[in-house]
């Protein structure tokens, strides 16, 4: 399946791009993270400490064990600092 993956803040900076389209057979967010980590050092670095990351699936905050079934958009970013 095809998923749009977005990166924000320092995750975007480490990976070096804000958005990409990924062809994947990952069943969960965690599977997708493993696939990305295996790609290149910059991905491995960005995803080295998942406790410092948050994930949204189709624009809703979720957990790393969330399913990717039917999902079109996944976003990775650090804890939010609004307000």
């Amino acid at each position: 399946m095809t998923i749009t993956v977005l990166y924000f803040a320092w995750v975007r900076e480490r990976i070096g791009l804000p958005k990409e389209t990924v062809e994947t057979t990952a069943a969960t967010v965690m599977d997708l993270v493993e696939e990305l980590r295996a790609r290149e050092e910059r991905y491995a670095m960005a995803f080295s400490d998942l406790s410092a990351l948050r994930v949204a699936v189709d624009q809703d905050l979720t957990e790393f064990d969330a399913t990717l079934d039917g999902v079109r958009e996944v976003a990775f970013f650090p804890p939010m600092t609004g307000g």
Binding site: L6, F8, A9, W10, R12, A56, Q59, D60, L61, A75, F77, P78, P79, M80, T81, G82, G83
Partner: protein, 147 residues
């Protein structure tokens, strides 16, 4: 209920006045405004706020809708800017209208607490040394536990 996400400045006085006017059944209006602070011990040149278009509006609507129903608000307003800001600039505001003061205050604090940690904004501060991402505070995450 109104949610606004924009890079342009907003007119706090006009927004506050417009929000507070014409409520004959809401006795209490609370506003909160966030202002870019200068750094302690260093000079902040600018703050740049990044956000997640689409999710931002969705998250703010969810937070405001929950506040509306939980405190029986007559109205709620959230305005949040993104992009480049300078010290003294207003970053955002929330406003709540309720029959009684305790509800208006609680709802405004709820909006702020959730907006801090659950709306997809990220702040970066630039000084003469370059840019640094503002780290989320444990106390902001802890603040959600009281609701």
């Amino acid at each position: 209920m109104r949610i606004v996400v924009q890079s342009a400045p907003f007119d706090f006085g006009a927004e506050a006045q417009g929000f507070a006017s014409g409520h004959k059944d809401m006795g209490a209006i609370v506003t909160f405004t966030g202002v870019v602070r200068d750094l302690e011990g260093d000079t902040l040149d600018r703050m740049v706020i990044e956000h997640y278009p689409g999710m931002t509006e969705k998250a703010l609507e969810k937070i405001a809708t929950e506040a509306m129903s939980r405190w029986g608000l007559g109205d709620a307003l959230v305005i949040h800017r993104f992009g480049e800001l300078r010290p003294g600039d207003m970053i955002m505001m929330v406003a709540t209208a309720a029959p009684h003061r305790v509800d208006a205050f609680d709802a405004a604090e709820y909006l702020m607490d959730y907006l801090k940690s659950r709306a997809p904004f990220w702040k970066q501060e630039f000084t003469s040394d370059g840019g640094a991402w503002v780290a989320a505070k444990d106390e902001d995450e802890d603040a959600l536990k009281r609701w």
